[in-house]
């Protein structure tokens, strides 16, 4: 392999890409609306995702109001409650987290971090956003159709999802499935971009093993998504046919409301397999980008190279591979061959190995680092703790014998909210606080940030920790109200009230956060270039914030992304694209 190092002063030309018109968008419309610039698409994706996420947030408040204070709110009927549960889950997992991590951060960061002008297929990338928006609009429309949105639970299990008696079994479920199909089509278009950009459009010198872990995380997550979403697509289309054409893919012979239906012989379990073949990788589609972002943010704010970079990469790849062979641990209570259960319990526990490895590496990165307790750092530390918590309860639930009694209790709600709700959301916050200066040129307000962090962090624990106990005493999940039950102590009701109040307080903190963003876009303190003194390419563009086409001349990459606190160098970091002869060195003091 030919090298151009400091010894031989060989001139290496930057990689060249053809000049494309989109780097010089002419009209306002092509620049900001039908833009093919990945950065604009990223902002569009993020804004849409956050807006629909706010709907999901409000739904969670309504749910908690009912659980905390049953018989108080006359406008919440059992039907409404199931619709809140369903739409909250679906919105948060797919339309918020997946879209924000891959469509939002993926679009913004991949081209900038690997040193590309843009995504490789900008037009397809633009289509991806508009189809996503269409999916979101269809989803939103389902709130306004007769019968309301589907109330089948976010897993949409047949046969109940499409039968009489389930809320929204008319237009609600149909729109839900159509929306999912569109989401998958749109995502696939974006996903092709992310994968091919990482594979083929990196700047000269950016070998795969020099990529920041953020890019690794998003890259592997996208590969997972491209291979997992087809399962949801198939399941969605088949259920749509079951609902509309009365085929019997998933619906067995069934008597509903005293009437024998036309369905015969379908298999609900088949749907569950398809759904979870998508559903489990989905957890890692959300978690892997979070892992990547955390690794980078921690390294920057602890001024230290990430500990065990190679292992971090291997762990990401290993988790990605393993995530495809654990899906049936979501189906222990559906009944299965014990050997089958044994297999999935084993693979589930094995996946804890690379995950634990990552946790150790994050902690070891912090160890003796020059830790700056900035807001992004605080959120990352909070993520590490929370993910550990959620991961450990995952080990409980991964075992069939423990899962079966706990499966339908609040314990599961606490587990998955910790591990794939709160933890990735913390990373999203960390990423927003970290990269907001790059996107807007301004800092987010520190005071409001501190308030947002502490209320959210402590609040999240006050919400979900007690839920574990509720689960242990047997409080079931998905129930509209428990009423008086022999084995549930009255204190459970008090705890539920407490949780609801905490939810509203944490919810208020998010309002402060949104206000902070809106205010800081216009009035925030100017950040100056590279406020966090990071090494990665996105902070070293010609224009700041980066303009169309990202870079002036495409960068040359001389090193990996983690040269922090290098002995003998004046600044405590060496950017990836700084030529060796430009590094300012200091003489040792002695």
């Amino acid at each position: 392999m030919a090298h151009a190092g400091e010894a031989e002063a060989v001139y290496v030309p930057p990689a060249e890409v053809p000049d494309v018109d989109l780097y010089h968008a002419h009209s306002w419309i092509t620049k900001y609306v039908f833009s093919q610039d990945a950065k604009v698409i990223a902002i569009q994706y993020s804004t849409t995702a956050i807006l629909i996420g706010l709907v999901g947030l409000v739904l969670s408040w309504l749910m908690r109001l009912q659980l905390g204070f049953p018989d108080t709110f006359s406008f919440i009927s059992p039907t409404d409650y199931y619709q809140y549960v369903t739409m909250h889950g679906m919105i948060m997992v797919i339309y918020l987290l997946t879209a924000l991590f891959l469509g939002g951060f993926g679009n913004y960061l991949i081209p900038l971090m690997v040193g590309a002008r843009d995504m490789v297929f900008p037009y397809v990338n633009m289509l991806s956003y508009w189809i996503y928006l269409l999916a979101v609009l269809i989803l939103t429309a389902s709130f306004f159709v007769p019968g309301g949105p589907t109330g089948a639970g976010w897993t949409l299990y047949p046969p109940q999802a499409i039968l009489e008696g389930t809320p929204g079994n008319g237009w609600g479920i149909i729109l839900m499935l159509i929306s999912l199909v569109f989401f998958i089509i749109g995502f696939t278009m974006g996903g092709l971009n992310y994968v091919v950009t990482v594979l083929q459009a990196r700047a000269r010198g950016m070998t795969l093993m020099r990529m920041p872990l953020t890019v690794w995380g998003i890259f592997v997550a996208t590969v997972l998504a491209l291979l997992a979403f087809p399962a949801l697509f198939v399941a969605g289309v088949m259920m749509l046919l079951d609902r509309v054409l009365e085929t019997s893919f998933f619906v067995p012979a069934i008597v509903s409301m005293g009437e024998q239906l036309a369905y015969d012989g379908g298999s609900p379990i088949l749907f569950q397999h398809l759904f979870w073949f998508f559903g489990h990788p989905e957890v890692y589609i959300v978690a892997l980008p979070a892992f990547g972002v955390v690794s980078d943010v921690i390294a920057v704010h602890a001024r230290k190279a990430i500990f065990g970079y190679r292992m971090m990469v291997w762990a990401i790849v290993a988790i990605g591979g393993l995530s495809f062979i654990v899906w049936a641990h979501h189906m222990y209570v559906s009944g299965m061959n014990p050997y089958f259960g044994f297999f999935f319990a084993t693979t589930t526990l094995i996946i804890a190995v690379p995950t634990a490895l990552k946790l150790y590496n994050w902690v070891l990165t912090l160890w003796k680092g020059n830790i700056q307790l900035t807001i992004p750092m605080l959120f990352c530390v909070a993520f590490i703790v929370t993910f550990l918590n959620g991961g450990i309860t995952g080990l409980f639930l991964g075992n069939v014998a423990v899962d079966v009694p706990l499966s339908d209790t609040m314990f599961v709600v606490a587990h998955f909210h910790m591990v794939m709700g709160v933890a990735p959301i913390f990373v999203i916050f960390a990423a927003i606080y970290h990269w907001f200066p790059l996107m807007s040129g301004r800092m987010l307000n520190e005071g409001m940030g501190q308030f947002h962090f502490w209320v959210t962090f402590i609040g999240a624990y006050l919400i979900y920790f007690p839920m574990h106990y509720l689960g242990f005493v047997g409080v079931p999940r998905r129930y509209f109200e428990i009423g008086e039950t022999m084995f549930i102590p009255p204190s459970a009701a008090t705890l539920n009230e407490f949780i609801t109040i905490m939810v509203l307080i944490v919810g208020f903190a998010q309002v402060v956060f949104i206000f902070n963003i809106l205010q800081s876009i216009f009035k925030g303190k100017l950040s100056g270039r590279n406020p966090w003194k990071a090494t990665t390419l996105e902070w070293h563009t010609e224009d700041y914030p980066p303009g169309h086409g990202n870079f002036g001349e495409l960068p040359l990459v001389y090193r990996w992304a983690y040269e922090y606190s290098v002995p003998g160098v004046k600044d405590d970091f060496v950017p990836q694209n700084m030529p060796p002869d430009q590094i300012v060195r200091v003489q040792a003091a002695e």
Binding site: M1, A2, H3, A4, G5, E6, V12, A15, F121, G191, L192, V195, V196, L199, Q200, A201, R202, R204, G205, M206, T207, L208, M209, R210, L226, L227, F229, P230, V234, V237, M238, L241, L245, E246, T247, S248, F249, P252, A262, D264, G265, G266, L270, H273, L274, A305, R310, V313, L556, V557, Y558, R559, W560, Y562, V566, V574, M578, P579, P580, I583
Partner: protein, 206 residues
């Protein structure tokens, strides 16, 4: 460079001095569009694999599976799809050799056969529906319509790419400028042909 070698690299070892390797910034030595197509094909492979598994799984379950008579039309239809694939391959070769006349004829023929295939599939479905094989009456019927339908939709998507290639040819692009588009179409058509052959054999043997 193998993936394992790549993953064994120690990026920190070269960080102090800093160097720019002249290669290694592209993972595959083929055009991006082609890499994109292969990534897309792997996603579609998963899609159809899952459908086939569901097909097998659903067939085993219950006692209601009554195979439907495979319309004879599917045989000539398969031949038509083979022809469209063959002609795209010819277009690909002509484009590589710079023979625009050959490209034009083969491309049109391939498109024509593809449309004929789609029409044939549609007609076969109409025939089945006419005979009373509704999607709702039996899972075998439902799977027939689902599989042929999804396959047809993918082919229609391919025809969009085909139309764009045709438009390029019409606007008088040179052979080397359309070679890639045609090559991608050809790969996609071969892939869909393979999928169809698998689906068709699956329906024949069951």
């Amino acid at each position: 460079m193998s993936i394992f070698q790549t993953l064994m690299e120690k990026p920190w070892a070269t960080a102090q001095g800093g160097d720019v390797p002249l290669d290694g910034h592209q993972s595959f030595s083929m055009p991006m569009e082609k890499v994109g197509l292969w990534v897309f094909l792997s996603a579609i492979t998963v899609l159809f694999t899952l459908l086939i598994i569901s097909y097998g799984g659903r067939m085993e379950l219950g006692t209601d599976w009554r195979p439907l008579p495979d319309p004879w039309l599917l045989w000539p239809n398969t031949a038509v799809l083979v022809l469209s694939s063959v002609f795209l391959q010819r277009a690909r070769i002509s484009a590589r050799r710079g023979q625009m006349d050959g490209v034009r004829i083969s491309l049109l023929a391939a498109g024509g056969f593809s449309f004929a295939f789609l029409a044939g599939q549609l007609f076969a479905s109409y025939e089945l529906v006419g005979l009373g094989y509704f999607a709702s009456t039996n899972p075998a019927n439902a799977f027939f319509y689902l599989l042929t339908g999804l396959h047809a939709i993918h082919l229609i998507g391919g025809l969009v790419a085909w139309a764009r290639a045709c438009a390029k040819v019409r606007r008088g692009f040179e052979a080397r400028q359309v070679a890639l588009s045609i090559e991608l179409c050809a790969i996609y058509w071969h892939f869909l042909l393979m999928v169809w052959v698998i689906l068709f054999s699956l329906m024949l043997i069951t």
